[in-house]
Symmetry: C2
């Protein structure tokens, strides 16, 4: 038995659907390849709102020219099945690229034309170092989607900690009338944070990657003895072994993402690593809140 | 006799007011120092909408560190009198800077923190050459104001031709559900385009500045004989004499602002000049549509 879920393809269709929602609307923007992490956001939205809409859109502008846009997992039929059968989602927005980028979009930032949204101050560090256009792409697409969907609440997972800070600042600064809801990271049974990109990993590497969360938890224990960020970071570093290649470990202010020399309650301890995959390396990120 | 006009100071107050408007809302964003040009936009909005709201906000982010932010004419009492007595405006939004820039705002772009909106492709040429941060500031504040007011229609004057193109692209790209209405330039009796900055000029310079529109009209006549942009621009140039100092004359595509070698119907012929004022020089802009 399938529930009837409305599949919306155009901005116009979303606007028409939205007009009929006279009470609260929850919105979960996704790039598809739905996993239990997304599903926990959906469940929370259904609990908190009268209507829930999910978008599935692999956003080109958040990928660099040498990143995995073409290979990013696309599993639309499976995604729709999950939304149809598992949850009482009211609508799913599955736009074409031209619907979201009416002026077109190319991956080379210098060639891009049209309107872009940047959140300065919290987009440049951490993930922004290796992916300088990433948060501009995220901020731009979220602004567009918020303008179309006009939700009462929008849901993100804590796993993408910097994204959460960028979006909270975006909504505050652009005076957007929505509540940003951040939900805890969902993890596989070994502790690995759920991510659509985990599909890139072999079984062995998935097991090895359980080190990441374990090391973060050891760092958390260290914090109970010392609030010196360097000591906490060193502890985490010492607990990560081959094949985990550390890109960064940082302790950051939860609102501004400024580097903290002294850790405070609420600080974000974030990590990015590289692990081997079949044809090269995969990047994984994770974080905990002190 | 005064009409009762609602003065809204906070984003929250605008949202509450907006909720009560069950039918169309027209919005005229201004920096105050209201003149007949603004008033024609207001009249048009009243004609086309059930509710009309004006904002008065001198937007810091569109001024460079060496521009006239501090000296920009501020005539709030006079402006409110115009809105109260002359027109059936329903509300006026007069926010503090902190209300519109919750993350703060400084004029040095490199020091700025928070969220900014850029419209690439039509912001860099013409006015963008001497004022590289100008349209980023305009696009940012208009996005914020649109998010707060959520108008059915927003009104701008054709006098700021590039601003009109930037805003039309902004609304299209960010999928904002509003209609952008561009109204013809209002002119003083001698043809000088109305502008709040005309207050900087002496009577003599105002008279001399009437050359600008006259030269544009001679350029328009030339276009009837030749669509070669260079010839049209040369004709305009030859019809401008001291004390008018030409900064640029351009013929541009109406949607993209790309330079046109061959003029087409609808093309924008725009001009920027400098004229003497008491303590230096004032910049004036004007344009016509072919």
């Amino acid at each position: 038995m399938t529930n009837s879920i409305k599949i919306l393809r155009s901005v116009q269709q979303v606007r028409q659907w939205r007009l009929q929602c006279k009470s609260s609307v929850g919105f979960i923007p996704t790039m598809g390849a739905l996993h239990a992490g997304h599903c926990s956001l959906i469940k929370q939205s259904i609990k908190e709102n009268d209507f829930t809409v999910v978008s599935i859109f692999v956003n080109p502008s958040q990928f660099g020219p040498n990143e995995d846009l073409d290979n990013y997992p696309r599993t639309l039929e499976k995604d729709l099945e999950i939304l149809q059968n598992g949850y009482k989602v009211d609508a799913v927005f599955v736009p074409k690229v031209s619907e979201i980028y009416p002026s077109g979009i190319v991956l080379d930032v210098n060639q891009q034309r049209g309107t872009f949204v940047s959140v300065h101050g919290c987009s440049e560090q951490l993930e922004g170092v290796t992916r300088p256009q990433f948060f501009r792409g995220v901020a731009t697409v979220v602004t567009k989607l918020l303008n179309v969907v006009q939700p009462s609440r929008i849901y993100f997972g804590q796993k993408d900690a910097q994204q959460c800070v960028v979006i909270k600042n975006l909504v505050k600064d652009l005076l957007i009338n929505t509540e940003v809801r951040i939900m805890p990271t969902l993890r596989e049974s070994n502790g690995l944070a759920m991510s659509s990109r985990n599909e890139y990993l072999s079984k062995e590497i998935r097991m090895e990657s359980s080190q990441i969360y374990k090391a973060l938890k050891i760092g958390e224990e260290k914090y109970r003895q010392s609030n010196d960020s360097k000591e906490i970071i060193d502890t985490i570093r010492q607990n990560l072994k081959d094949p985990i290649e550390i890109e960064y470990i940082a302790i950051s202010h939860p609102d501004t993402l400024e580097d903290l020399e002294i850790a405070i309650p609420g600080a974000i301890v974030s990590i990015a690593v590289k692990v081997p995959k079949e044809d090269g390396k995969a990047r994984l990120i994770d974080n905990i809140i002190l």
